[in-house]
Amino acid sequence: MKTLLSGNEAIARGAYEAGVTVAAGYPGTPSTEILESAVQYKDVIYCEWSPNEKVAFEMAAAAACAGARSIVTMKHVGLNVAADPLMTLSYIGVEGGMVICVADDPGMHSSQNEQDTRNYARFAKIPVFEPADSQEAKDFVKIGIAVSETYKTPVILRSTTRISHSRSIVEFADRQENTRSIGLEKNPPRFVPIPIWGRVMRKKVEERLGRLGEAAAASPANRIEWKDRALGLVTSGIAYQYAREVWPEASILKLGFTYPFPDRLIREFEEGAKKILVIEELDDILEQHIKAMGIECVGREYVPGIGELSVPVLQKSRARLEGREESGIPAPKYLDRLPARPPVLCPGCPHRGIFSALGKHDVVVTGDIGCYSLGTFKPLDRMDIILCMGGGISMAHGLDKAGEKKKVVGIVGDSTFFHSGITGLLNIVYNKGCSTIIVVDNRTTAMTGHQEHPGTGMTLMGEETTAVSIEEIGKACGIERVHTLDPYNVQETQRIIKQELDSDTPSLIVSRAVCPLRARRKVGPIRRIDAERCRACGACLKLGCPAIDGSQKKPTINEYLCYGCGLCEQICPFHAITHTEETAR
């Protein structure tokens, strides 16, 4: 059967066909849909959203140690969180196959940095596979599981945004069940990396790497496409697709199993091609290795390492290589007359109430990763620094201890709180901090498309479970001042925030309102602006609500966009914003 699948859906299908029975992960664009798609096979694959990538990694690792086939999914920065178990699982190895599915985001479409996950493969001394389309994404999970079992090593599948979120045609195959009996073998020297056994494992890792290099050279995931031998391109992943379009006549060493480096194949290619150009997205990992082999090649001086590649980018590379000027396509004629359209907090977003209330205070706000990152933009402009998941809490404490003169507020989301916010909160209490921490709890992992988390009371498999209380965790960490508020209630929100900013002891404010997109319903009746009462003071425009149009003299509310949250009605000093009790649209 042929189906049009995204790279992420294809990875999930690959896991199904490979006989995987355990799949875990933490949502993160562009990786999220792997598990969301894998759960369609929940009759045979146990799937879970874990609280963070480290936990997901460890549970999938243990499953593989016990002989099960597993996958774990995350975005590139998630692997930083899971790097600790990654480095040592390389030593312990696995019994059942384990594929670590990591999606990089060249071009930073939805990420705070660019990272090339292939560095982790080399760092951890484990294989990495780089699919170039959805069919390969599926096939490489299966090859990955086989390599993982043969060499008893976890393997990485490195996707990128353009693999994960592009769709192409995939041919399905049947599922191959894992025939191992599941259970952890009683064998401490095999599974316990205390120094005496760890040193033995260390040597085995190097031996394994040598054998894997041979396997890579012979792998069906790598191939040479001989055409004109004047120029040979070495490339991997999505870059292959662009390269093939820009150089239809060139020979290509197309790599899918890129680490350990397939040296034998690289030599064979070098002997047949007159000149070698290496084309890789982000870091120059292949190029540096090929040069270290003593082979003359070019790469980075023609192919940029910042941002993502594309056909136009490589057309420029080709022009430079051939000593030509590439004119490129001129920018759209009227581009400078078009208003920018940045992403914004949705109409009715509960985060808006918190940012609006914080706007009344001269405070420093340490932020975090989620929809609420959008609170950075004007007119809300209420987020001053963002580092990483959970960092909003720990950084507030750091600023306080450094002697920041202003009051500091840390903001974190609900899913992010469970991900890595709790330890920061614990630190504030333990080390006598005084920060005000706000958890903007919209009852879902919103930015990545509404995934469940430990606070929602539902699992990925669609089962009801214990909904863990953020307030109770705060109290258990030792926070005495714990408050819950409704961010749509302006007065209450302002009162509690002011009261807690004035306090010298740490406090935890849980701002709770479900994401209206998640709930699939409007918050309340739609609002209208009475033009006669409106004095055009601009107070409502400071909410940055997409439903309020301030482009004319007096603002108006778009009734189709309004979600009826009522914030504007409460902050209008002239009572010009009203509603009737009609049902929300």
């Binding site: 759209p332 078009l338 359209r341």
Partner: protein
């Protein structure tokens, strides 16, 4: 298959306008017509009311899933100024389908930028092969504003060499049974608008 060359289609709009369903219908039509197909869509951060683009390419053998600027045979905008923003994707003489709808960007609501009041003039000046109309109005006349995107697809379909029957089949397969009739009518309406 009649055409050996890879064909590119670009759909643009504002996050939340339902661009993904339109992209799915184009891709399914091309696949059912026997072509190799690749698509690319924006997820995550860019969906929150931001400017969005979906790209579809089909042909005998498609490599890149991304449409290179200057190569799109059809550019379809679900919001009027988005057509101007992505104008550089269009191949010379390509078909431009624009929904006259206005969605005010937050930068305009805040008073930090202006929404051009002569957008229609700019569109007519810039695109020689332009179909510009109120798809939402047409959809409302058919009984449901949500069919607006399929009205646009009806126009878009006239710029590609995919069989009409295959379009119908793909639409029927992509929408819920209860909405099939509505969407097939919307598609016809679009084809008529193009004529």
């Amino acid at each position: 298959m009649s055409n050996q060359e890879t064909q590119s289609v670009v759909l643009v709009g504002v996050g939340g306008q339902g661009i993904l369903l339109s992209s799915e219908i184009v891709a399914q039509t091309a696949m059912k017509a026997g072509y190799d197909v690749k698509t690319n869509e924006v997820h995550g951060m860019a969906q929150r009311g931001g400017s969005v683009i979906a790209q579809i390419r089909y042909g005998r053998r498609v490599y890149s899933p991304l449409v290179a600027k200057g190569t799109a045979r059809v550019l379809c905008a679900l919001e009027r100024i988005e057509a101007l923003r992505y104008a550089d994707y269009l191949a010379p003489g390509g078909l431009v389908v624009v929904n006259s709808q206005v969605i005010t960007p937050v930068t305009v609501s805040m008073g930090a930028a202006e929404y051009p009041d002569d957008a229609e003039r700019m569109l007519r000046e810039q695109f020689e092969n332009l179909v510009y109309f109120d798809a939402a109005q047409k959809a409302i006349e058919l009984g449901n504003i949500r069919a607006a995107n399929v009205v646009l697809l009806g126009v878009l379909s006239t710029g590609l060499d995919l069989p009409v029957e295959t379009w119908r089949e793909a639409i029927a397969g992509c929408v819920k049974p209860a909405y099939q009739e509505l969407n097939l009518k919307a598609f016809e309406e679009g084809r008529n608008a193009a004529a």
